[in-house]
Amino acid sequence: MTILKVAGLVKRFGGVVGMNGVDYAFPQGAISAIIGPNGSGKTTFFNLVSGIYTPDEGNIELEGKSIVKLKPDRIARLGIARTFQNIRLFGKMTVLENVLCGMHLQLKAGLFGTLLHLPFVKREEAGAALEAYRLLEYVGLAEFLNEQADSLPYGAQRRLEIARAMASKPKVLLLDEPAAGMNPRETLELIELIKRIQKETSLTILLIEHDMRLVMGLAERIMVLDYGTKIAEGTPDEIRANPKVIEAYLGKSAVAKG
């Protein structure tokens, strides 16, 4: 079953076409990867899906309903959460508060409830802290809960972004190069984490990644972009064997290996 569908997606930046008529349907509950050379439009794709850019043409549907032209916060409300290639944490807040911000949509307290210190607000806050703590434990950051987010080591910051995104209980999770800058051990841990998330929550995960080991080890479906156009899609094995992909992306060494 399809959860997220894009059709004829076009995005232009001045004269440059960032996304040129991409169609794709992402199956629910699966891990799909988007790969392609640098500048092929992968992050643009995420920015379109999460509402940071508005497409010039085409449609994006989440569970059959169009989300084109909605603001990012509306799209988050409908169930799409994401991480960022260049980490975007709330740097001056604590690790726990970062996750609490991610839970924004789960919480109800408003201005007046907070000012009047209503009992439900107190209960909600206590519950939220506990849940945020659980999420931190899940991604292995519980010991850092009171640290300031920008003081964390790089790999931990990436995992915190994942915890924050998961805190909104999304239906679709977009991970933009989650392993970038990680050492091999951290990458392995990350692969385990993503597998576990998917197994335990049956979340749909979309993944942009350069690390082919990670992509081939995790993804069930892969879409390949080049110059904003989809040049291939299929299972990891199909992609590995696809001559177009090898030419555009994996290069000659991959042909020799494969």
Binding site: I52, E97, L111
Partner: protein
């Protein structure tokens, strides 16, 4: 020796309490016995700063602080002829603290640089001024005008409300503007507000233009009139308590976190489901309402308002308070507001008087141009540059709230055990 003393102090609350009490008693006696001593008064107020650094539980600190402000300070200053002068200064401090806390919500929490913040203060002040004088009859008819001083209490909230409405109206267009442009747009709006207040005596006379509005009604509570600074002092303390309570509750709430999230990273905040415009507008409205409430008090206290009280210099003064104290830090901003207000009203004038005396005695010659009481721009400018470069977190840096890890772990233990056991695999999962 010194080190030992300090560690001893840090360890013992009794020693802290004794020292604080001694300090308060001494400065109190000094303020009480001297007719007017700025130094003594400053020391007395700085006991509140000492209180901040003691290791008592927060509730006790607040209680002691309350007693200090409600009983000790009014009593200590009542000794001499300068009672009203002291109380005037303290009242002004309170007014500026509330405004600085309001701007702190906007700049410190939400990261929006507002350079026209004094406009909201003006809105509050004019709201009360217009309706508590015959000014209102210039453009409205009704036998109920002008209102008497017993409406003052209602107007504290009306003033706050109108100011926050104004904040929202102003924010709606302004907050679409990108970060660094926001500063200049708010500056523009601040100027527009002042120009309009300055000229709205025609076609319909609403503000009485540059002449201002005078003979504003004194607050009246069941026949008791508030006219002296020592009376306004208590009104200001009450409002200030309300403002601080609001700020403290908001700071670590869902809304407060949303403000800081927007400040730290707008795009990530939006992607976490935080609506930008609405959240920013709330910051504007909350900040403006504090200013508006104090505007009403200011109008009643001065019994006169005119556009010259609401200039760009005032807006920057409030900004200096926030930056000096520490953006986002409530105790810091309170300290910053006190320091700048005292500097403005007491220290600079005292030094000027002293220098003038020396000049008259022919000891030194200080030209009029360098009179410290006119040096605000110079001092504020230097404070802004120096703090921006060397101490951007201010005198008392904002601190994040730390949660008790042990408590969370304990609360979590039974649940996580339940969550994990049925699934059958622990930390690592499969490979």
């Amino acid at each position: 020796m010194m080190d030992k003393l300090i560690t001893g102090l840090q360890g013992s609350k009794y020693a802290q309490a004794a020292l604080l009490a001694l300090f308060v008693a001494l400065t109190c006696a000094w303020v009480f016995l001297m007719d007017k001593s700025v130094v003594a008064f400053l020391l007395l107020l700085s006991s509140l700063l000492l209180l901040h650094y003691t290791s008592f539980p927060t509730k006790i600190k607040w209680a002691v602080g309350g007693v200090m402000l409600l009983l000790v300070v009014p009593f200590a200053t009542s000794g001499g002829a300068s009672h009203e002068a002291y109380m005037e200064v303290a009242t002004q401090c309170g007014i500026f603290i509330a405004m600085a806390l309001g701007l702190n919500v906007v700049v410190g929490f939400a990261g929006l640089l507002d350079l026209g913040f004094v406009a909201f203060f003006a809105v509050g002040a004019y709201t009360y001024a217009i309706f508590s004088t015959p000014q209102a009859t210039e453009f409205m008819s009704g036998g109920w005008l002008p209102l008497t001083g017993s409406y003052f209490w209602l107007f504290i909230f009306i003033g706050g409300f109108i100011a926050s409405l104004f904040g929202i109206l102003l924010g709606l267009p302004v907050l679409r503007v990108k970060g660094d442009y926001l500063a200049i747009v708010t500056l523009g709006f601040g100027e527009i507000t002042r120009i309009i207040f300055n000229n709205l005596d025609k076609p319909v006379n609403i503000t009485n233009g540059a002449l201002g509005i005078s003979s504003i009604q004194a607050p009246n509570l069941f026949g008791y009139h508030f006219t002296f600074p020592h009376q306004f002092y208590f009104i200001v303390i009450a409002i200030l308590a309300l403002v601080i309570l609001c700020v403290k509750r908001l700071e670590h709430s869902r809304l407060g976190r949303s403000w800081k999230a927007i400040r730290d990273n707008e795009i990530a905040a939006q992607s976490s489901g935080i609506p930008l415009i609405r959240t920013k507008l709330t910051a504007f409205a909350v900040g403006a309402s504090f200013s508006g409430m104090m505007g009403v008090v200011f109008a009643a206290k001065q019994t006169f308002v005119d556009p010259t009280s609401f200039t760009y210099l005032e807006s920057i003064t409030i900004l200096v308070m926030v930056l000096l104290g520490g953006m986002g830090s409530v105790p810091g901003v309170i300290l910053g507001a006190c320091v700048i207000t005292l500097l403005n009203l007491q220290v600079l004038t005292e030094i000027t008087l002293w220098l003038n005396q020396l000049t008259m005695q022919g000891i030194i010659k200080v030209p009029h141009a360098l009179s410290p009481s006119k040096m605000q721009r110079f001092i504020f400018g230097a404070v802004l540059i120096l703090f921006a470069i060397f101490r951007p977190n201010g005198l008392i840096a904002a601190r994040n709230r730390k949660v008790d890890e042990g408590r969370l772990r304990a609360a979590n233990a039974p649940v996580s055990a339940k969550l994990r056991d049925p699934s059958g695999h622990g930390e690592g999962g499969s490979s």
